[in-house]
């Protein structure tokens, strides 16, 4: 079996090399096949296939190596394209349930025409103990005043290697919302890049992760503010247990000309055990004065005041920690507007 090496998740503005946070070099298999997801949708929206050429102009969050890897795989691109003004009332569901020990690649394209509205839920699961590999790339084009809500649930096993890449570009007034949950996986590399071209367009990202054992999660999120009055709000809530490792890179790039843009990013990480490793690098690049950029991070144990408040109602420290860990994930789950998906997640978390 021949192996390829990819340079992925590179930060737009790198920093000290010795931290080893600038990017990731990973091996990917070359004996790959196209995965076979199950698509559930109402008749409101058309689903078809297209070639990678059609989405080449939307650069992926993981970087050019990932784009090339997906394109070279020759996989068809699954295309979901709500028409102009079409408000798709029930979510389109794409279920990836991996059952075989094989390496799969998939590409998804959501092409939301002007004034359309669609919710796409991608669920990643596998049979217990499966040690497979999958690379999935989702590209989103958002027309004028269109809205796309993309929900991705990663509930794979702890032997699975997974690459999940998202990219989008927005037209005027378009809004992209993504909710992502990473609940397991031996090694997960996740990227997301949004180019906010359109005036008044926006990005809202909510990420929740819960890692344990020696699970490894490496993320690279980029929001490029190009148009005027563009907004982004990136919120990350995480829980690390045992010897889990997590690296979050988040870059908000307020480019010249993006007058009136506002970018916010916040990561809250609750550390449950003493051998976890947490790396966070929330970057703001700013080349424009009429903007606002804020970022924050809190990492570590629970805040003393909060702990005291909870304890004063009769819970001991361990109980409070367990409750808060669950609450972090629950607060992200609560944002999912689909009961079926919510109950899948609760069931998965209870069994885990």
């Amino acid at each position: 079996m021949e192996n390829n090496t990819l340079l992925i998740n590179a930060m737009p503005a790198p920093t000290y090399n010795w931290l080893r946070m600038n990017d990731a070099t990973v091996k990917v298999p070359s004996d790959i096949t196209e995965g076979n997801p199950m698509v559930t949708r109402s008749h409101e929206v058309s689903v078809g296939a297209c070639s990678y050429e059609e989405i080449k102009d939307i650069p992926g969050g993981m970087g050019i190596d990932m784009d090339n890897y997906i394109q070279k795989s020759g996989a068809d691109v699954l295309k979901i394209s709500p028409g102009k003004g079409q408000k798709v009332t029930s979510p389109v569901k794409i279920d990836f349930n991996f059952v075989k020990d094989e390496n799969t690649v998939n590409a998804v394209y959501i092409d939301a025409s002007d004034d359309s509205d669609v919710t796409v839920i991608m669920d990643y699961s596998c049979v217990k103990e499966l040690s497979g590999f999958a690379a999935i790339q989702t590209k989103v084009r958002i027309g004028k005043n269109a809205r796309v809500l993309l929900i991705q649930i990663q509930r794979l096993g702890d032997k699975f290697r997974f690459f999940n890449d998202v990219a989008s570009r927005t037209d005027d007034g378009g809004s992209f919302e993504e909710i992502q949950l990473v609940l397991s996986g031996k090694e997960t590399y996740q990227g997301s890049r949004t180019d906010l071209y359109g005036k008044g367009s926006s990005l809202k990202t909510d990420i929740g992760y819960l890692l344990r054992g020696d699970e490894h999660l490496d993320m690279n999120y980029i929001a490029n503010h190009i148009g005027r009055k563009t907004l982004c709000d990136i919120k990350v809530d995480g829980v690390l247990r045992d010897e889990a490792f997590k690296l979050f890179r988040g870059t908000i790039d307020l480019r010249r000309g993006a007058k009136g843009a506002v970018g916010n990013e916040l990561e809250d990480v609750l550390l449950m055990d003493d051998n976890v490793i947490n790396q966070t690098i929330p970057v703001i690049l700013c080349d424009e004065d009429d903007v606002e950029g804020n970022h924050g991070a809190t990492i570590g144990r629970l805040d003393d005041d909060l702990l005291f408040y909870m304890e004063s109602r009769g819970m001991n420290k361990e109980e409070v920690y367990e409750m808060m860990a669950k609450a972090r994930i629950d607060s992200v789950v609560a944002k999912i507007p689909d009961e079926e998906t919510k109950s899948l997640i609760s069931k998965y978390l209870e069994e885990k």
Binding site: T15, Y16, M21, N22, V269, V276, I284, G293, R301
Partner: protein
Amino acid sequence: MAKKERAEVNDIDRSMYDFRYEEKDQDFYKIQEGLTRKIVEEISDKKGDPQWMRDFRLRSLEIYNEKEIPQWGPSIEGLDMSNIVTYVKPKTKMTADWEEVPEDIKNTFEKLGIPQAERKSLAGVGAQYDSELVYHNLQKEVADKGVVYTDIESALHGPYADMIKDHFMHLVPPTDHKFAALHGAVWSGGSFVYVPKGVSVEIPLQSYFRLNAPGAGQFEHTLIIVDEGADLHFIEGCSAPKYNIANLHAGCVELFVGKNARLRYSTIENWSKNMYNLNTKRAIVEEGGTMEWVSGSFGSHVSYLYPMTILQGAHSHMDFTGVTFAGKGQNLDTGAKVVHNAPDTSSYISTRSISKDGGASTYRSSVVINNKAKNAKNSVSCQSLMLDDISRSDTIPAMDVRTQQADVGHEAKIGRISDDAVFYLMSRGISEEEARALIVSGFADSVSKELPLEYAVEMNNLIRLEMVGAIG
């Protein structure tokens, strides 16, 4: 509504730093440009290095030749080492008597206010002109307590030779990065301070570095050892006149803070805007010790400056307060690094940066909490102010936390002067220009109030001069 005219904020008036007395080349010993083994050997000969130092220089040169230029940070393409003169020795010996300093050099420092400051409020002063110290003096009362303050070269041959050998570039080894290796090869000048156990130096010591020769590099080494329970405030100031060719500053500062000791290290850096300031500063702090940094970066064409603190002992602590002001043609990449290696350690970083007139400032930092550092606390707060839409301001903070028992908090804001704040001040009868000026100086106030008076005044010279221009 008509678009409001933005109050013009003028460039810093540098005339007080740019003056330069005419010098004739024969007044100086100058080594040829570039960097070769021969040049390093020649510097070593000139300085009469002990053998170990000569070997150290040559080993550093090898490391320098092997190391890559960093792939991050501002461009240093304009810096061509083959054009940099690494050693310029003024034709004078170091003295402790101000009257003995040659007239030209004396005038230069007098114009910068150095001897006046010494008389007023300093316990000791060192003044370096190009590659060598020209003046070093310590108050008798302080010397009597056993405090040592001298140039490194004298220390290398004196009773503290072993102490130098045990510490010199141990904290910042030449392998650290390319310019640390360069420093190891061609270092010259700088100060050595030793504060013995339990001694508290009530008033600050100060070293002033002046790089006067065009196309030259300054590579001074500062080594400070504050022994158990001792206390010191050390101030360094730097300036240079502006030339059209690149100058290089690659100094190295190594600070050893003993058990329960305290060291405050204040810097106002105002190199000219042709300077590449690639300076490395690092402190290691033992149990219960405190390291405080106050750092103002105003000058230089390009700066890479991130004072690093290693909290090695339990209950040790670090405070960093910094302000960076990047104007036209400047790309200042500054910040701080801290490594928590022991339990109950704490660190606080607070920075302000201002960008104007096409200047670029970057706040860059790293906070590392190792697994041993139980109960470590760290908080970072950085704010950036953009004064116009042609400037740039980036924030690149990294955090690496490896224990559950930690509290790490980070917050950063980037924005411009708030219209509401301007409106509020104007509603009380203040003009828009004045209002903006007030807000900018208030923004940097958290740093200037940490400085001793003389330096706060210098910083005011730097910030308020431009505000006076604005009020006009």
